[in-house]
Point group: C2
Chain length 458, copies 2
């Protein structure tokens, strides 16, 4: 009953009143959003195009450069102004050969991928006993030197969550596991992929090593292989030994870039609305859900919002470069533009499924605008979240400016089935969910870009 | 309404009467089957064991030999008599390096696997224009010599079917496509994998070349890559060029073997019941659903059926070797044992999901036994099919003897998502469905092994 009471309270009269206000104040924005829901093809056009004509776009490589060039051309072809590719420098790591096999007692090949930042085993590989730890905490508790000559394996698991919150739960095994293993003397590490699927696709992603700890070879096993390894531990009478060959290498400093474009507002003196995504992808897939879709969504929505008439404020799209390997582009954008105020920042970087929740960091400071947006997106099945929006990786500049942020939460239930795997391909995108996503973005951008007052409030 | 009338006719009184007969005549077999449905762990034990302790078992290789050795030990440990590994010779082909990439106009890597029997491109690979054909018929219609210097691509598609019937519809692209392409002058061929999934896993499998046509390199693309290639054809202004590297090689003649074991009946002079599967697997996966599960099912059911008391007839299990690369084991078994009559043959080689239909080839010649079995399996949700059973690849001997055959049709809706891919792993098996499968087999074997008269009828 308490739940019902809360639900009734949430659907309160002021919200309904605000919805009527929206209809009268921003009919054009609402109509653009409705049209996007019905028939948007622009976001799909972007993600189909970049995954087909470019494919994987690893940060700092020529493939990412082709992705930026392609995006620049697409933005220009779709009428964006001030389109540019703003270069920055970064450190680039690339994959080499990667194989794993159990050599005893049950010889068979496993599917592995190197984590970004992994050291190389050399072409001959390393062969060593594998020692299992159920969590980062268990690994952390291993005595100093106890992993000397061994390969550490972390068998943490992950469950699908709508809000993606288990990434914070399971992610540390990838983010810091190899570094901890190295600090205990391990000569290599493998983790169960940070993922929720049941396919023979390891999940890539970066790892990092603490100051003073030399990197070791670090890989991720596909989930079926990880399960097989765990069965081997249960069955083996003696040690389980693995041969691991990972030959990634550092390319040193290379050039990446941030692609920007604008729909110029009627009053360019007002701070712009910044809508962001990232244009690079991990190399195993084609960067469809991570994050081709995000760039398609924000660009399509910006254009749809402007179709209702030139907005008051400029809408700036930022396709950040080199997100995956350390937010290089987001940081570079902030450094270059910190003196130029942003009215509000939003990011799309969590796939292409439906948006189910709206949140902002100005619920208290600008309650009318918060309520107005909440009311306007309700008809798309988007609820008004209770948390404080913090934004994503690609809008560092807004956090650095202590600016207004909106989170449009996407359904991430399927996201970690695909994230950073070879399976991040176009066929995983559901066009109907993508259209809902674009419609919500169109509605929100339409309101923000026509908001005369300071968005975070006075 | 006609459908309803048919359904009512099928559920006719004679069937219900037969069910009562079963309960009185073979209560022990029924009890064993019910127990298997509730709590079988033996089939799972087999498939978990062989996929974990052996893994892939490609025909004619030392990995298959390890699989046979493991199976011999398992059968002995589980009380089977006359366990043996009966050797035969075969021609063996093994995979090498395999990569594919589009080199122009949209460079990106694709996931490919070589088809069994493919020629090698050499380590440098081949690079050529790719020409699309929508079907084998379209390829067949291409003028002689028209594919000179090109790579043929066949873009047939396949839809999941419960009975697996689309394998006959889509399979020819793999079975004969490369040979037709070669005969038209192609220097290589790739097909859309014969599969129904949406993952980055190509489906392996054999192809063959006609007499007088020299083999060419022949691969299968994963379904997302095939879809990407087709989008490229739609978008490209000029030719789409692919670099293909496939370096398989023929090992010449090697030794494989058939593993056999028996539950000896009370009257060894009666022809035995033969229950078969195959022990080899394609090398990309671990041979869980194809066909570790099948061997687990038939062996577990044979043992459960015998738990009700020593059967009248001997139950012989045949784990055929080298099915995948040309039914070498099934043919060798028939050649070696053709003079020893088999009472009835059954095979399990279509995954581990539920059995939904029973059929025989003695409905007319031994209607009482057919009806008795149909009635006995009805309680497991298994219907009485209207077709004539023809058996599977591993029971050549029974067809060669013109003997009695039973088909226990499994639900194949998911089968071609996994078939011949790296994803053929233990986690794809649903223990509840596997138990139903074993229960039905237990019931059927229990009846057959206690049938005194000739099973196909006089």
């Amino acid at each position: 009953m308490r739940t019902l009471a809360l639900a009734l309270a949430a659907a309160s009269l002021p919200t309904l009143a605000a919805a009527q206000t929206v209809a009268s104040e921003t009919p054009a924005a609402a109509a653009s959003a409705d049209a996007a829901l019905e028939s948007d093809t622009l976001a799909w056009d972007f993600v189909e195009g970049i995954t087909t004509e470019v494919g994987p776009r690893q940060a700092g490589t020529e493939a990412e450069k082709r992705g930026r060039d392609w995006s620049v051309a697409w933005l220009k072809a779709n009428g964006f102004a001030n389109v540019a590719d703003e270069p920055f420098q970064m450190e680039t790591w690339v994959r080499g050969t990667e194989t794993a096999e159990i050599v005893s007692p049950y010889p068979q090949p496993f599917h592995v991928t190197a984590l970004g930042g992994s050291a190389s085993t050399g072409p001959e590989g390393i062969t060593a006993e594998v020692v299992e730890f159920e969590s980062v905490a268990a690994l952390q508790a291993a005595p100093a030197g106890s992993l000397k000559g061994k390969i550490a394996y972390i068998s943490h698991s992950m469950t699908p969550t709508q809000d993606g919150s288990q990434y914070g739960f399971a992610g540390p095994a990838r983010w810091v596991g190899a570094g901890i293993a190295a600090s205990k003397g391990a000569i290599g590490s493998v983790i169960k992929s940070v993922g929720t699927d049941h396919h023979r696709n390891p999940h890539a992603g970066g790892t990092s090593f603490p100051e003073g700890v030399a990197p070791i070879p670090a890989g991720a096993l596909s989930l079926p292989d990880a399960a097989n390894l765990e069965r081997m531990f249960d069955r083996a009478k003696g040690p389980v030994r693995m041969k691991l060959v990972l030959t990634p290498r550092d390319l040193g400093t290379t050039t990446s870039g941030n692609v920007v474009g604008e729909i110029v507002g009627r009053d360019p003196s007002l701070p712009p609305v910044l809508v962001a995504c990232h244009i690079d992808s991990w190399d195993l897939g084609t960067g469809a859900i991570d994050d081709g879709a995000g760039c398609g969504i924000v660009a399509a929505a910006a254009k749809h919002a402007a179709a209702a008439g030139q907005p008051l404020r400029t809408i700036r799209v930022l396709f950040a470069g080199a997100e995956e390997t350390g937010l290089w582009g987001s940081k570079a954008y902030s450094a270059a533009h910190i003196a130029e105020p942003i009215a509000v920042g939003l990011e799309s970087d969590f796939g292409a499924d439906r948006i189910w929740q709206f949140g902002s960091n100005f619920r208290e400071s600008n309650p009318d605008l918060h309520a107005k947006i909440a009311a306007a997106v309700a008809r798309f099945g988007v609820s008004n979240g209770t948390g404080v929006a913090t934004g994503g990786a690609d809008i560092n500049i807004v956090r650095d400016q202590n600016g207004a942020i909106i989170d449009l939460s996407q359904d991430g239930t399927r996201y970690f089935d695909l994230h950073h795997t070879p399976d991040d391909t176009l066929d995983k995108i559901d066009p109907a969910q993508l259209r809902q996503n674009v419609a919500v973005w169109t509605q929100v951008i339409g309101i923000l870009a026509n908001e005369p007052g300071p968005i975070k409030g006075e």
